[in-house]
Symmetry: C2
DNA sequence: TGTATTGATCGGTAATTTGCGATAAACTAT
DNA sequence: ATAGTTTATCGCAAATTACCGATCAATACA
């Protein structure tokens, strides 16, 4: 992306939906979410056991999900408890649902 | 991604969902789909009028969507008519829906 | 005060993505 | 054959993403 000025190319909802989609656009992040779906919450350590990638890599993907708003992390030293952000997730679901709805049948 | 061998890290459905999500992970592609949703079908040229980006850029995003399976292009020389691939779209919707369902409430 | 634990962050490399202009390809029409 | 139309593809630069090992920060505990 090398667009500098105005930046008025897309609608808010297009940017927002794309943002959520991007958060889901890697299998490891899908898996993290699914794991959270079975656990209510989890610590980073559980994920590093579940997923055969470096701890730093997993931490980075958690950051991605957090920055997209889909999860939140509560610091419980020395650990961090991650949970799904139900509100953001509901919003994402709504947005996806509406998109698909508009695309159906045409 | 610099993983070379076995590649048995993720489940098929995780990869597939991530693949669909990636296709939706850019506002221009969301917009293209939305436009298709109002038009049933369209030619590339209509999109280059709708969207203030270079023709080559739009063509590339169409390719992205096509490679993800979400749209298909029928060549009608010298133009190409793009339509939503309803079957793939339905599959994507299903997968997203199930994911969100599993994440709800926890 | 030291030691252990947990997880974020840094620094680096490789790969991928995004954007553009220019050009090629596939036709139609003249 | 030539010219025009439409769209894909190429080649490039810049930005971003993905991954890792190493290190730092925060806290608990001995």
């Amino acid at each position: 992306m090398q667009r500098t000025a105005a930046e008025q190319v897309y609608c808010d909802h297009e940017e927002k939906l794309a943002r959520y989609a991007k958060a889901l656009a890697h299998p490891i992040r899908v898996r993290i979410l699914e794991f959270l779906g079975t656990q209510a919450c989890c610590f980073t350590g559980q994920l590093t056991e579940e997923i055969p990638l470096a701890q730093s890599t997993i931490s980075q993907h958690l950051k991605e999900l957090k920055e997209a708003g889909l999860i939140q992390g509560d610091v419980m030293p020395p650990r961090v408890k991650y949970c799904i952000n139900q509100q953001a997730m509901a919003e994402a679901e709504q947005m996806f649902f509406h998109l698909f709805q508009r695309l159906r049948h045409t």
